[in-house]
Amino acid sequence: MIRIRQRSARPVRSASVIAAGIAALTLGVAACSSSTSTAPSGGATSAGGGGGSSATAQAGTSGLTVPTANLPVLQKVGKGEGQLNLIAWEGYLDPSWVKPFQQQTGCIVNAKYAGSSDEMVSLMKDGGGGQYDMVSSSGDADLRILYAGDAHPVNMALIPAAKDFFPAFQAPGFNTINGVHYGVSLQWGPNVLMYNTKDFPAAPTSWSVLYDPANKGKVTVPDNPIQIADAALYLEKTKPSLGITDPYELTQPQFQAAVALLTQQQPLVKKYWALASEEISDFQNGNVTLGAGWPYQVSTLKAAKFPIGSTVPAEGATGWADTWMLAAKAPHPNCAYMWMQYISTPQVQAKQAVTYGETPDNAKACAYMDKLQAGSCAEYHANAPASYLASISLWKTPLATCDNGQNDCVPYAQWVTAWNTQVK
């Protein structure tokens, strides 16, 4: 063993340096942070991580303002920057429509997939924003992104294809606040009941099959706190005495009933799927025969010639309406506008609708859909969306203030806690 023992006159005091450094850092962080608050203008604070009652925004969100509402919009789409960073649902960036876009505009698309609205909100905030250009968020994430100041106003004059959208999607409340647009509406669809046609030759007519003990160990549902709304929707029709009118606005007793139903369901569930591919492979391998999922899984299984069926049962379904929202600090705004225009054209809307299995927002897409797949326009209700739209409960963020003006609805933070501690 080397024995170069240097008896130095002044021993190096590394340990005390370390300790002093840590202490200084902690004090510094504590000092400079206690004087500032980072809540956005008008946003109230809450106590604790997700627990306890919180006095958040006023009725709806009228007390809040969007921090980025006054940012100047792009006046003219310039030369593409060569790159585009997108956060998307699995299946929204299929090569069949991304490749032509890349060839036409030279903007290379980098995709980051997210499996839930929460993930999307989280990714948009990572590192203070500035990483991604756009996110294909659903209604329940849109408002949270907007009010956090992570979205940028959009100049709709630069997206002529959006003029052909159905009226309901031209300036919907989830991406347009006070006349300022923060993104362009994309497509929408339901969360469907999927079933193996070999085990269920006739389509199930009710969501009750997912709660039936006879199907123990054969069920899969999404690993997402918003599932509580699915349980509430089921209870709305099967237990009218609870008085549920909106599955996203639940009073405490209604909320507890929905959570209790899901807790009862837990022994039946084989797996709470977090990745779309998990549900696909679970059906494929026979791990499950019933489940709640997106049309994307259904399309993929059908393409692999698997006997899968899907249906919207009698009680209706929850669903989602997606927007390509522009990020506040988007690094490639020109490519972003080119994408928004491209994805809103009828041909591309039709391609995405047929491939994924959803309903386009562009009224002119119907004809193109039937050319790609006969009968698809009617199948996905692309020609008469108003009544169909009314039957789907689109995702929205549960807030403490209900639409009827009361303040006793359960906010989303409690949904998350209940999902992670009681249901799973």
């Binding site: 240097q6 190096v12 340990a15 997939y113 590192g127 591919s277 492979s281 993929t300 692999a304």
Partner: protein, 269 residues
């Protein structure tokens, strides 16, 4: 010392462990030839189509290249910083020496998700943009300890007489380092560097939290797994990586093996 029966039992055990280690890897290679893009058993059909898909896929090439760059940067940083701290801790006794070795072990002793979220909060707090640099910072932090461990273990086994002789012959400290100590610890540095590169190349969890919009190879793989449409392409890419790394791993083993022989000569007390 071992009886014949024991030797046979040991051989059987080794065979079983090797089987355990390699069945999943063999399945990865097998399913790189999968005809269907959904993985189910038994394999529906074989095709080499996915290898050409992977070769033509620009995203894969970009991810692979980024992983290599990050790995090299992290390894170089780890070599420099790791050897500096090894020499310091080896040559000097001072108060706080143990604290430093504890500090160095923390990045691999603490679960990766903690390093990941700590760095994530720190970069967000200080408004540092996520980029290749933040990924390298995350990787270098745990690579340093890998190099440190290898090097200090070797330094402890080097006979002290060699450096003393070198200095008796008039070499300065720097010359002793360059012509005597480093060549003797070269194999430790090389195996440390290889292990550090391997750890950085396959790192998922810390990278998820410190990467921006760019993808390293593991991040690309994770995205592909989420989609479920290109699983055989993932397997094809992994197969090629395994084949490519066979060469440096064999080299490393040869070198480490040689080192072991020299160790057995000088390290017995």
């Amino acid at each position: 010392m071992e009886s014949r029966g024991l030797r046979i039992a040991l051989r059987a055990w080794v065979a079983l462990v090797l089987l355990f280690l390699f069945v999943p890897v063999a399945l990865i290679v097998l399913y790189a030839f999968n005809k269907s893009n959904i993985e189910s058993w038994p394999i529906p059909g074989v095709t080499t189509h996915w290898f050409s898909v992977a070769a033509r896929d620009a995203q894969v090439r970009a991810a692979l290249w980024l992983s290599v760059r990050v790995g090299l940067a992290a390894t170089v940083l780890a070599l420099v910083l790791g050897s500096m701290v090894s020499f310091a801790l080896h040559q000097f006794r001072f108060f706080g020496r143990d604290a430093i070795s504890l500090l160095l072990v923390l990045p691999i002793a603490l679960p990766g998700i903690i390093t990941g979220i700590a760095l994530n909060s720190f970069f967000t707090f200080t408004s540092i943009q996520f980029s290749t640099l933040t990924i390298v910072a995350g990787h270098a932090t745990f690579c340093i300890v890998v190099v440190f461990n290898n090097l200090i273990a070797r330094l402890r086994r080097l006979p002290g007489s060699v450096s003393e002789a070198s200095m008796d012959l008039g070499a300065r400290g720097w010359q002793t380092l360059r012509y005597v100590t480093l060549p003797l610890s070269a194999t430790a540095l090389i195996s440390g560097a290889l292990l550090a590169f391997a750890l950085s190349f396959d790192e998922v969890i810390v990278t998820i939290f410190t990467a921006g919009a760019q993808n390293t190879l593991p991040l690309w793989i994770f995205g592909a797994i989420r989609l479920g449409q290109q699983l055989p392409e993932v397997n094809a890419v992994v197969t090629v990586v395994i084949l490519l790394t066979l060469i440096p791993v064999v080299l490393a083993a040869r070198i480490a093996g040689a080192g072991a022989l020299s160790r057995s000569g000088g390290g017995r007390r």
